[in-house]
Symmetry: C2
Subunit: 360 residues, 2 copies
């Protein structure tokens, strides 16, 4: 797809130019601990090595890499955040090692290939933002044949959930539609124009907003009502853009909770720092964004509501068809097509559900 | 300035493509009544005439023009809202008169010149969105020499106000900064990186957000504490882009309330429908967005906070230097430079205030 760079800056990069947003990421303990541990428990990957940090933001991963003994770190950042990264590098006394380069990874030319590529490229549901494209581009151009990727692996998970949100959203939608009908009446009476013909498109617009857009949530583990499935696995060393631009998975999940309500699905990801087969991590580290009572992340989970909810119970089987691809209008956003069907343990099939969702 | 059309769509036009947003405008009674009255109380301007509606949105002004007897209405709309406008035109039985044209006004070619240009182009503080540029362009190309502009005149107003917002925003800012200091300490202790060097830029970013961005408010008339001044007058028939791309005004305002607090300024606009000198309105109509107890509009007022507030009283004189120009990064947004000084009736001068603001 042809990406208009200026539009991409207006839509995407703009948020990263705010320290406020970088701080949000820097305050995510789960994220920070995972990257910190991955580096400092695997110093052999960094000590005396050359490193490329794709999208350095504030510069944090580049600075840690230097502190872990890297010989040279190239820290590439597309936005003006690069200037703050440069200041931070300097005030932390690693300016002899870390070179901050302002530019798109796709355009930057390095003087050498590197031993390690480190990057925090993960968006909601792993792939939103499509930033891994830039990591792939960097890898194919700048990673030595025996180089290591940080993180090395990534997975997307999906599980059935219960949630009060369906009802809430359905109520919101109903209220908005009631208000619309009043508006149509008023406009006819007061201003002599009949807006009735717009009822259908307005309703579609609002349904899309309330029911067909996935929601950011920090789910409680007890909202997960069935077995979770891995719907995508990525080897960061070998994945191509083609491999990640579509995620298709048919899977089934067993309900593990008695007499509950299937209200939708939660999606999340984890990434692993394992080094590579012939140069493995000394200590493997995992960063998971799964539902958790006290180790939530700023990524939360993405929730896809199904409506109306279905009554389900332990032993019921939910079969799911999942398809995710990039939005035509904005390659950094995703569209999801989701179908599901519940087979009760009696063998009885509940009415199937099928809908499109937008991950925005 | 060179405007990237794609970026302009991503930043600006996108919101207008939602019926939800059009409905907000269509539910603004003050706005609707003014345009409705301006048309139906001045049918002589429409009956048997050709009309151009610049930015027709849902098509409302075009439909009214047809209902008022127009022979032909060209209804130009840049976004896909044009399709809804077309449906509305049809279902209101004016498709023989109203022709909906999807496209930017700047690009559209009409088969004839028109007698009337009608448009609802006003943004916050009148000029935000810079949509009047498109009306000027339409006027210079498509209005007959004796044509009429709807509205015909516009003014921007500015007045000193009191408000609890300064304190609130100052508190918010303080909280955010306290949190920042904790973050800096944490990051040093836990992750070995000293973020201190970013304190100044973070603080600047947050001050900009909390204190140097104008705020949307529906002010109560009793929050106005001094005489209001007109800081710009526009004759829609003759104004050029040059005339409106900068607004500069030095004025003074007398405080009209006893023992109160000067917390900032409120800015708003009004527009008038007067026809033209040689073809005047039969009944002049005004649309005002001034602070009002029960005739508020979706435009509200724009509030510029000054901090700290000054104690003022009846008879004090506030002299103000106001300058507004377009943002370099986005020609539809504005930057304001505001200076003010209070001379008490005793002759005593209070410390002057000067700041930049962003109208976003
Ligand atoms: N193609 C590209 N080239 C350069 N920088 C990019 C990029 N795509 C995304 N980025 C930048 O990558 C950053 C991702 S956020 C992560 C920031 C930092 N590494 C940290 O872990 O805290 C953003 O600052 C974004 O502007
Ligand atoms: N240069 C341009 N060309 C065409 N349409 C434009 C335009 N600039 C703004 N618009 C459109 O003008 C509309 C302004 S909002 C007003 C809509 C309608 N006339 C009403 O009064 O309810 C938006 O729908 C916007 O998309």
């Amino acid at each position: 797809p042809v990406v208009d760079k200026e539009v991409d800056f207006a839509n995407y990069f703009c948020t990263y130019a705010f320290l406020y947003h970088q701080k949000e990421m820097l305050s995510d303990r789960v994220r920070m601990n995972a990257y910190y541990d991955s580096i400092f428990r695997n110093k052999h990957h960094f000590n005396g090595k050359t490193v490329l940090d794709v999208g350095t933001g504030s510069g944090i991963l580049a600075i840690w890499s230097a502190q872990a003994g890297a010989k040279k770190v190239y820290a590439v950042e597309a936005t003006k955040m690069s200037e703050h990264a440069r200041a931070l590098v300097k005030s932390n006394n690693v300016e002899n090692v870390v070179e901050v380069i302002e530019g798109s990874m796709e355009d930057v030319v390095l003087p050498e290939k590197v031993d390690v590529i480190i990057s925090e490229w993960m968006g909601y549901l792993l792939l939103r933002e499509s930033m891994f494209d830039s990591v792939i581009c960097a890898r194919d151009r700048w990673l030595k044949p025996n180089g290591v990727m940080y993180p090395s692996h990534a997975r997307i998970w999906f599980a059935p959930i219960r949630s009060g949100l369906v009802e809430r959203k359905e109520n919101d939608l109903e209220e908005v539609m009631d208000d619309w009908y009043n508006f149509v009446e008023d406009t006819k009476d007061t201003y002599g124009v009949d807006m009735g013909v717009l009822t259908q498109p307005f309703s579609a617009e609002q349904r899309r907003y309330y029911l067909q857009t996935s929601l950011w949530q920090n789910l409680h583990p007890n909202q997960i009502i069935g077995t979770a499935a891995i719907i995508k696995e990525i080897d960061c060393l070998t994945a191509t853009v083609n491999d990640i631009s579509e995620v298709r998975s048919n899977f089934s999940s067993s309900i593990t909770m008695e007499n509950t309500s299937l209200c939708g699905f939660g999606g999340w990801f984890d990434v692993h720092f394992r080094g590579r087969k012939d140069n493995p991590a000394q200590q493997e580290v995992e960063l998971t964004t799964a539902p958790s009572k006290d180790a939530g992340t700023h990524w939360g989970q993405q929730v896809f509501l199904i409506h109306p909810p279905s009554c389900v119970t332990e032993g019921d089987n939910v079969s799911v068809e999942f398809l995710m691809y990039r939005s035509k209008e904005n390659h950094r956003l995703m569209e999801v097509e989701l179908g599901c069907e519940v087979r009760q343990s009696s063998g009885n099939l509940l009415p199937a559900f099928k809908s499109k969702f937008h991950v925005e």
